[in-house]
Amino acid sequence: MTALAKTESPSRAASVQKVVSPGGIEAWLVEDYAVPLIAIEFAFKGGAAQDPVGKPGVATLLAGLLDEGAGPYESEAFHRALDEDAIELSFSADRDVLTGRMQTLSRNMGRAFELLRLAVTESRLDTEPLERVRSQLAAGLRRETNDPDYVAGRAFRSLSYPNHPYGAPVRGDLDSLPSLTQGHLIEMRSAILARETLKIAVVGAIDAATLARHVDDVFGGLPEKAHLVPIPSVDLAGAGTRHIVDVDVPQSTIRFGRQGLARKDPDFVAATVVNHILGGGIFSARLFREVREKRGLAYSAYSQLVTYEHGAMLYGSTSTKNERAAESMQVIEEQIRDLSEAGPSEEELDKARKYLIGSYALRFDTSTKIAGQLAHLQMEGFGVEYLDERNKLIAAVTMEDAKRAAKRLFADAQLLVAVAGRPEGM
């Protein structure tokens, strides 16, 4: 093979500056002037898991309203101001975090930070946009009502975590949406928008001193303390059970999973390697090979490790025509059982490590991707040095580690299975 000149990869951690503003707010900065833009991602702890009991969707609705009018600007004027300077701003809520993202041309930086400050500290939560965003969320939910992907996903989620906030729908449901009020939003906002849990990452054409100033302007007006409801840790329920939701379609959409390992578990990195061998996104992953390549059972078959702040799961998915759904599930379970009992081969382990190490760089090739990685890392409680350590941790995973992690992750291979469609023989 021909190759261009070899280069040593420099320290990724060394490219990150830890900026602490005069007001004491920290932000991670990668300064880069190659493209005249700035990307920011920031996050507060406390997402949909903070929704009041019986009122799912509050965090999502709040995220949808933060850019719908702030300070002196009503919704339309606020959007107009963003559009005039081509500033991209959005908020989203996940189970554990509420995230904001902004992108601006560097020449419009001052205006962008001003509008961001208003959204973060002076959102209006007016009635008109509240009703509008509510109806948009409802339309989205109605669209998904009989979509097999969503049907299977909804069933899987509520079966995984019954009687726990993680089992509630992040975007709410059609029953609860009409009952959410501005009062719920105000409460949620004051509970989670606080400096205490805030993490900030910035990438692009801005220097540390300028950023420090803007960070104080934007976030300095927030209260110090958050008021989060404690969320209990939870294990995934229902392993060993199968649930079918009838949808009149020719294909069965299958979601499967079982308890995973926590992000800070000493075996988490080894589990990442083992999961990659089972269902990672490459052609030689076992699920892809056995379900798709060898048998033509499905277009897609994968598994992934999901970690929440208070829970973790192994999660997978495939879609097969109804007549062969049982066969697909059998192939998947066989692979999981085999990995649990025999572990991976030396070759599989070697290749998985190589892939995971080599592909890490692909997460850092755009400003928005880098900002996202840096914000996420902080939210998970890691330091900058993890950027350089991560590949060393992968490289250090031995066969013994992999087998131990496989045994813990796959155990007796009992899965919670949720199917949407009309599967035969299940």
């Binding site: 093979m1 021909t2 190759a3 261009l4 000149a5 070899k6 280069t7 880069d32 190659a34 493209v35 005249p36 833009l37 919704s75 339309e76 959007h79 107009r80 559009d83 005039e84 081509a86 041309l105 509008r132 948009q136 409802a138 339309a139 989205g140 109605r142 669209r143 009502t145 009989n146 979509d147 097999p148 009149d248 379609v249 020719p250 294909q251 959409t253 490459i282 052609f283 030689s284 060898k294 048998r295 033509g296 499905a298 277009y299 879609s319 097969t320 025509k321 290749k351 190589k354 892939y355 995971l356 080599g358 592909s359 890490y360 760089a361 692909l362 850092f364 090739d365 755009t366 928005t368």
Partner: protein, 458 residues
């Protein structure tokens, strides 16, 4: 892995990005070259991360599928991962995965593209890979049959389980009575089922040639290095003498409005789309495609757009509304207007309201300030695109594969800036009702609800 890249269709909550390359002067320093065997090369340097995106584009897509063999372009894209004389199935994918590379491919109406994203040291591996399968593909019946099942599952997943996608297929088929853009990229099930090894190899032989290919490399590379490397790898492929020809009948001027309705018990949220036949960047008179781009943005680019403001905020007839111009196409293409009705609002009412918005643009023109911000945002997209080497690679690749030139890509922001209010009003005439197809997606139970079982009709 083979994904189908469909043009954004009406009723879908996607914000389609316009094809915007970089503005001359501030943009990336793009180099173009051509090998003796006809292979075209584009290099887009981006030195911010030690990563490279390697793509090979072929100037053939679903619109070039022979009659009765719809889906062959996409099926062949799947089969291109099945190995060659010297590299059995999976071998190259393994080499790419071993260096942490990611790979995939996609098929569109006008092109088929393959790509890898790797650390820059491994560009050579990618070139060996694509050069090898450009000429040495090996297919057996044992490999072709299960892959055909995979494609049928892909179709079941995307279309056969989704009424809105079934409506989209019918709308496209109605819009293009003659031209093959009316056929689904993935193909019709009954035709996919008949595709075999012989069909695949005949198609491969016709289109997978250096004269028909464009190599796009974006990332931490220098143009001269890439060109020298490409010469030593791709340069070894023998020329065929000339590029394959596409034969496509032109779509006649539409003169009658068509309404396509699909009612299905799985539908809980109705939606509305109108699609109009319009010129593409390739077929338009100078300035017209740019005017359509600006019009799409004014009508449906976000919350300050005319459709959103009128239908969603003021009249409260819709919960979402937008527009999209699919300008990157070899032949005359589509302009989409779409909306989702608020509860209790009929699609007919919504349709009337959309007509009134379009009529108002025709009658009183567009606001100067609106026009200015629409252009500002479109031009800014070109700058935002520079943040992503993969986005740039796709922009340049899709543009060249649909017959545009590098200069066209570079001058795009200036041409957008030059669009006047008069140009936009002229463009809206393309959206005359009688030129379009309207698609209604409805819950079952209405008067249009016909039996779905074909046996019941005989």
């Amino acid at each position: 892995m083979a994904s189908v890249s469909q043009p954004a269709a009406g009723g879908v909550f996607l914000t389609p990005s316009a094809a915007a390359p970089a503005k001359s002067g501030g943009g990336p320093n793009v180099t173009q070259a051509r090998l003796e065997n006809g292979l075209e090369i584009v290099v887009i340097p981006d030195h911010r991360a030690p990563v490279v995106t390697h793509m090979v584009w072929y100037r053939n897509g679903s619109a070039d599928d022979p009659v009765g063999k719809s889906g062959i372009a996409h099926f062949l894209e799947h089969l291109m991962f099945k190995g060659t004389k010297d590299h059995p199935q999976g071998k190259f994918s393994e080499l790419v995965a071993d260096v942490g590379g990611q790979e995939n491919a996609f098929t569109s109406n006008d092109y088929t593209a393959y790509f890898q994203r790797v650390a820059k040291d491994h560009l050579g591996v990618c070139m060996e890979y694509e050069a090898d399968r450009m000429k040495n593909l090996v297919l057996t019946d044992e490999i072709v049959a299960p892959e055909r099942d995979v494609v049928l599952e892909e179709r079941r997943m995307r279309t056969d389980s989704d009424p809105s996608d079934q409506l989209n297929e019918a709308v496209q088929a109605a819009l293009f009575s003659q031209h093959p853009y009316g056929k689904p990229i993935i193909g019709w099930s009954h035709e996919i089922e008949t595709l075999d090894r012989t069909d695949a190899l005949a198609y491969y032989d016709r289109f997978y040639t250096p004269e028909n290919a464009i190599l796009v490399v974006a990332g931490d590379v220098e143009a001269d290095e890439v060109i020298a490397l490409a010469k030593s790898v791709y340069g070894k492929i023998e020329a065929r003498g000339e590029a394959p020809k596409r034969f496509r009948p032109r779509e006649p001027e539409p003169r009658a409005h068509r309404l396509v309705t699909l009612a299905d018990e799985k539908v809980e949220q109705p939606s509305h789309q109108s699609v109009y036949l319009v010129p593409s960047y390739k077929t338009a008179a100078p300035g017209e495609a740019e005017a359509l781009e600006v019009l799409a943005h004014l009508l449906g680019g976000g919350q300050t757009s005319l459709l959103f403001k009128t239908l969603v905020i003021e009249e409260k007839l819709a919960v979402a509304a937008g527009a999209h111009y699919a300008g990157t196409a070899v032949d005359d293409t589509r302009f989409y207007v779409y909306a989702m009705p608020a509860p209790e609002v009929s699609l007919e009412e919504l349709d009337d309201a959309i007509e009134r918005v379009l009529q108002r643009v025709t009658d009183i023109g567009v606001d100067a300030a609106d026009l200015k911000w629409a252009k500002t945002r479109l031009v800014a997209e070109a700058i935002y695109a520079q943040d992503n080497q993969a986005t740039l690679a796709r922009w340049y690749g899709a543009s060249l594969a649909t017959g545009l030139k590098l200069e066209d890509v570079a001058s795009w922001p200036d041409r957008i800036e030059a669009v006047t209010a008069e140009d936009v009003v002229k463009a809206v005439h393309r959206l005359a009702k009688r030129r379009g197809v309207t698609g209604f997606l409805l819950p079952a139970g209405g008067p249009m609800d016909a039996p779905a079982d074909p046996a019941a009709m005989t």
